[in-house]
């Protein structure tokens, strides 16, 4: 029969304490806990109680599961309790992004706080109760609005870019508001995940910022237990990797020894707070009780190795420290240990009475907040005069193309919303590859429109962090294909924040992405990417794609308003091929250019664009597909075939309600989807419509499931006008 290591660790602690010899009592708790340390006895005992709380949370999680069949989470913090030294001496406003072994950190921070946050929250998290105050039963996380700890679900250090983003945004905001900032950003992670691509992006970008003296007050806390699930971290690797990094100051400490961890943390926190530069705090830890309750550690560690790890138990070390120096007797230590056990067990009994989420509606409730009335009010007239010195763009009767109207809309939004910031690769002086951001830096300064380094993970991390700092970020991703190396920042991080914080935290942003194909053979697959499946896969995200300038301006305002007022993560895919397109039916007709809609005008969410009132067939499309479909519809009109063309505009969620009556008007629906067959929207449009009205007839025309080649060959795999026409004819002939 397998021995429960939890029971062994538990018993060994008590046995160890009983073996300690009482020493003469000392009473002035404001003295150093031992000779030569700045850690007082009072602080040591305070942190010891947090360590004990964290340990009992682990023991209870396993006990509830084993003996009661209750609870869903057994990844614990045992062996990592030295992180109390960090959590226990940060200031309350230092926003902290914690990984899953930060129980001690959380308990120490809670003990400094006035209010109910604490172990009862964690227990409700383990039990996934609906009234758990941060995630509402959606995950077990360390998080609390009161404690300035946004919940993190990352298991791969994918929360590090946003922690850096928050740090940079903190000081950027302060500088703009001409005030001094003292808060810092903190993130914790393990040795194994310090190797993860996302983590290394954050380290690199922090160093990049520091190298240029861009303030980035972030404390990276690496809790190094020497093993990632079953894979050992080579001895000395983390120190070797981080000791001599340009721009990031390294601090090392022994997380098994409270005075050592305290001293190292003190130095690291002070360094970051006062220099506003990145610090890396490397704390040695030990992993006890396996990776999780389900992890059979015996498969990859010998019993001797397991016992050797347990012998390093930091709680034993702290107990010894306190008893040897006369601050507590062994009986008092045991009294505290057992007292916490009893208290947390009583909390667990209450937590087990709490209801869990029972309906799908409850589960998804935080994902779909939207306010149809949300608006970005125009900037004051004098500010608009400043940014549009020649004339107000809505007063011009000269139609212009999509790129320029987007540029104007961005100008208006930046003028109207002082919290907005535009950033990305080449967006500043160059004005973006397609000039969509031209002139914005001149109008609003480098504080609000700035270039980033060439890393999409960092760009989106900056956006998430900026949102946490109260800004409204509008990052640009230069090409749709570039998003894919950073998609987890939207999927796993930004998109999930409202869900896992029960709507209490949000990562508002409007991500603009230049994308889709049809660049006349130029650019190849990276610059012509037409895969949007990864975006449509992100729950709760709003994805839009305008095809013309006036729509784009209105839609950008709507997305910005939803981000601003509802905290939504919004993505606008801008069709590169239409940025500068002027004509529609014939060369020189200028029919694809539009006037600029007045800044009050917003596009109603989920509203589709309707072209024509034909009843022979309905074409549902978007982006380049709209441009092509309108041309085909015009040609077929000459033959007496009367189509209506619907611009879907909103790609996620799809505007099926708005589309349905137009589909029913003809009974025949052709979906023209320029995306790859398996990645686009055609399947979903057809399936949703068919489910609503089984009498409808369908065809779809889509791009092929392939990468886009260079040259004219691109057109062989992309939807062409003749494909649309053929599709329509087939649809009309079908019975």
């Amino acid at each position: 029969m397998a021995v429960s290591r939890a029971a062994v660790v538990d018993a060994n602690f008590s046995e160890h304490v009983r073996s300690l010899q009482p020493t003469p009592r000392r009473w002035n708790l404001d003295e150093p806990v031992e000779y030569g340390t700045p850690l007082t006895a009072r602080d040591a005992i305070r942190l010891f109680e947090a360590q004990i709380e964290s340990r009992h949370l682990d023991l209870l999680a396993r006990d509830m599961k084993a003996s009661r069949g209750r609870g869903f989470y057994t990844i614990g913090s045992s062996g990592h309790e030295g992180n109390v030294a960090v959590g226990g001496q940060l200031e309350a406003g230092d926003m902290s992004f914690l990984h899953y072994r930060s129980g001690g950190f959380f308990c120490a921070r809670a003990a400094n706080h006035a209010g109910p946050a604490g172990t009862f929250d964690v227990l409700r998290g383990i039990l996934a109760t609906a009234d758990e105050p941060i995630a509402g039963g959606r995950h077990k996380v360390f998080g609390s609005v009161e404690l300035d700890i946004p919940p993190q679900t990352s298991t791969i250090a994918s929360h590090l870019p946003k922690a850096l983003g928050y740090a940079i945004a903190l000081d950027r905001s302060a500088r703009r508001e001409k005030r001094r900032e003292t808060r810092i950003s903190v993130c914790t992670f393990g040795d194994a995940s310090s190797n993860h691509a996302t983590a290394t992006a954050a380290f690199n970008s922090a160093a990049w910022a520091s190298f240029q003296r861009i303030p980035a007050p972030i404390l990276f806390v690496c809790e190094d237990n020497g093993i990632g699930i079953s894979v050992r971290t080579p001895d000395g690797w983390v120190a070797s990797n981080f000791q001599n990094r340009s721009g990031i100051r390294y601090f090392g400490g022994d997380g098994l020894s409270l005075p050592s961890a305290w001293f190292a943390a003190r130095q690291a926190i002070d360094y970051v707070r006062h220099t506003r530069r990145p610090g890396f705090l490397h704390l040695r830890m030990v992993r006890m009780l396996g990776h999780a309750g389900s992890d059979v550690e015996q498969l990859y560690r010998t019993p001797e190795e397991i016992e050797a790890a347990e012998a390093l138990d930091p709680l034993r070390r702290t107990a010894t420290l306190l008893v040897d120096n006369g601050w507590m007797t062994p009986d008092e230590v045991l009294g505290l240990y057992e007292g916490v056990r009893t208290r947390l067990a009583a909390q667990a009994e209450e937590a087990m009475r709490r209801p869990t989420l029972t309906t799908a509606a409850e589960v998804v409730q935080p994902l779909f907040t939207e306010d149809p009335e949300a608006r970005i009010p125009p900037a004051p007239p004098e500010e608009r005069e400043r940014v549009f010195p020649r004339e107000r763009p809505e007063d011009s009767d000269r139609p212009r193309h999509l790129a320029l109207q987007l540029n104007r809309a961005l100008t208006d939004i930046l003028a109207a919303e002082p919290t907005t910031a535009v950033f990305g690769e080449d967006v500043a002086k160059k004005g973006g590859v397609y000039h969509v951001t031209a002139g914005l830096t001149a109008s609003f300064g480098v504080g609000r429109v700035f270039n980033t380094l060439l890393d999409e993970t960092t760009i989106l991390g900056l956006a998430i962090g900026a949102g946490h700092a109260g800004l409204l970020p509008m990052p640009e991703i230069q090409y749709l294909a570039y998003l894919m190396n950073a998609i987890d920042q939207l999927r796993g991080e930004a998109g999930s924040m409202q869900f896992f914080s029960n709507g209490q935290y949000a990562n508002p942003m409007v991500v603009r992405i230049a994308g889709l194909a049809y660049q006349k053979g130029f650019g190849g697959h990276f610059h012509n990417d037409n895969g949007i499946g990864a975006l449509r896969d992100v729950p709760g995200i709003l994805v839009a794609s305008p095809a013309r300038g006036d729509d784009a301006a209105r839609m950008l305002r709507t997305l910005t308003a939803q981000a601003r007022h509802c905290g939504r993560v919004c993505v606008m895919i801008e069709p590169i091929a239409l940025y500068m397109t002027k004509d529609l039916y014939e060369d020189g007709d200028g029919a694809w250019q539009t006037l600029y809609p007045a800044p009050e005008e917003h596009m109603p969410l989920h509203e589709v664009g309707v072209y024509g009132s034909g009843t022979h067939a309905t074409i549902a499309t978007f982006g380049n597909g709209l441009w092509m479909s309108l041309r085909v519809a015009r040609r077929l009109q000459a033959e007496g075939i009367d189509c209506r063309v619907i611009d879907l505009r909103w790609l996620h969620p799809l505007p099926i309600d708005a589309l349905l009556p137009h589909a029913q008007a003809s009974g025949r629906v052709l979906v023209v989807d320029e995306c790859r067959r398996s990645s686009g929207i055609a399947d979903a449009v057809v399936a949703d419509l068919a489910q609503r009205d089984a009498s409808l007839r369908f065809r779809r025309v889509t791009g092929m499931d392939t990468y886009i080649p260079l040259g004219d060959a691109a057109n062989r795999v992309l939807v062409q006008e003749e494909d649309i026409e053929a599709g329509l004819r087939a649809l009309l002939e079908s019975r």
Binding site: L29, I45, E49, G115, R343, A346, Q347, E349, E350
Partner: protein, 353 residues
């Protein structure tokens, strides 16, 4: 039978009412030696100062508001009744796992938790009470925040309170939150501000009472109007022997002073500083105490049962032990394992001693 995990809650100064008269000196059931000792020590302290003893006040033939409600008398009366009740509480059946209090009840809680010795606590209560002699500063106004016939705080009504405060402040008066009292707002204001608050808050009839109600002979406790009192207290009482409590002690912010490591200076600064001049959030204190201490039972010390209603409402809001409504609360109370017992209710006292 294991002892019940018990959270002890100490009432504030307004709790010694007509019904409480004689409970120390003419008890209906015998008091313990501990209770008698509390009374003796309180009496000795008052006698040495040449003031009417607690026994004399409690033993008066009739309840007179000018005598029993006056701050300099009511404070130690309330304290003595509370601590005497605590002394009577059966420690075999009730394991005290946390202590909190409302307003002046926090002073009682200091003694009940062991953060102050009995004598130092008496000095604290008596001195703070004596500051009130002929020196009532402004006043307090009580107003319900629960929707009629429910026990849950209504955000709209909270809004009404906030708006009234703002209007009174806009008119140039001092008007602030004083206490969050489990579904009741206690507001503190200067004298003209109290009058303005009474006019600004829409009348609300609850049973035979029409709110807002001004609390008689109460100063604007827990507001900035008490700054001088706080400064004086820090000077005159700063040397009291504050120490870490023996059991968790929850203050009017919801901060838990814990045994083993609580900082006596922080406790002193909070007691004589912060809570004197800033709102006392009894609601958060009890929420925190429930979650931190996870009690099986809440025991309200006497005198009276003024905290019974607020505590019941907080239990409902906290959903403690599945209590989601007034009906749930009544059902739990009628069961073999009630959640709230008050010394001020004779039948419940019998269960406790």
């Amino acid at each position: 039978m294991t002892a019940l995990r018990t959270l002890v809650v100490c009432p504030g100064r307004g709790s010694y009412d007509r019904a409480a008269l004689g409970q120390l000196t003419r008890p209906s059931s015998p008091r313990t030696d501990g209770a008698r000792e509390v009374l003796e020590r309180c009496d000795a302290h008052r006698a040495a100062l040449g003031r009417k003893t607690v026994s004399e006040l409690d033993g008066a033939d009739a309840y007179r508001s000018t005598l029993h409600v006056a701050g300099e008398n009511a404070s130690l009366l309330t304290f003595a009744c509370g601590l005497a009740d605590l002394a009577d509480l059966s420690r075999e059946r009730f394991d005290i796992v946390g202590v909190t209090g409302n307003s002046m009840g926090f002073y009682t809680a200091l003694a009940a938790s062991g953060a102050l010795s009995l004598d130092d606590a008496i000095t604290l209560v008596e001195t703070m009470g004596a500051y009130q002699t002929g020196n009532v500063i402004g006043g307090q106004v009580l107003y319900p925040m629960t929707a009629a016939r429910t026990w849950r705080t209504d955000p709209a009504r909270r809004q009404v309170v906030e708006q009234a405060l703002q209007r009174v402040r806009d008119a140039g008066h001092v008007a602030e939150w004083s206490i969050e009292l489990g579904g009741f707002a206690v507001l503190g204001a200067d004298t003209a501000g109290v009058k303005a608050l009474l006019e600004a808050l829409p009348p609300d009839v609850r049973g035979d009472r029409t709110f807002p109600i001004q609390l008689p002979l109460h100063s604007a406790f827990h507001t900035s109007l008490m700054a001088d009192t706080s400064a004086r207290a820090l000077q005159e009482l700063g040397g009291l022997g504050f120490q870490a409590p023996d059991v968790p002690l929850v203050d009017g912010r919801g901060f838990v002073f814990r045994p083993h490591w609580a900082d006596p200076r922080a406790l002193r600064d909070y007691t004589l500083g912060h809570q004197v001049v800033a709102p006392f959030d009894f609601t958060t204190a009890v929420h925190t105490a429930l979650q931190h201490c996870a009690p099986d039972l809440v025991v309200a010390l006497g005198p009276g049962n003024a905290l019974g209603g607020p505590l019941a409402r907080i239990l409902v809001e906290a959903g403690w032990r599945g209590i989601q409504s007034r009906a749930d609360f009544d059902a739990v109370q009628a069961s073999d394992h009630p959640m709230l017992l008050s010394f001020g209710v004779t039948k419940q006292r019998e269960h406790l001693v």
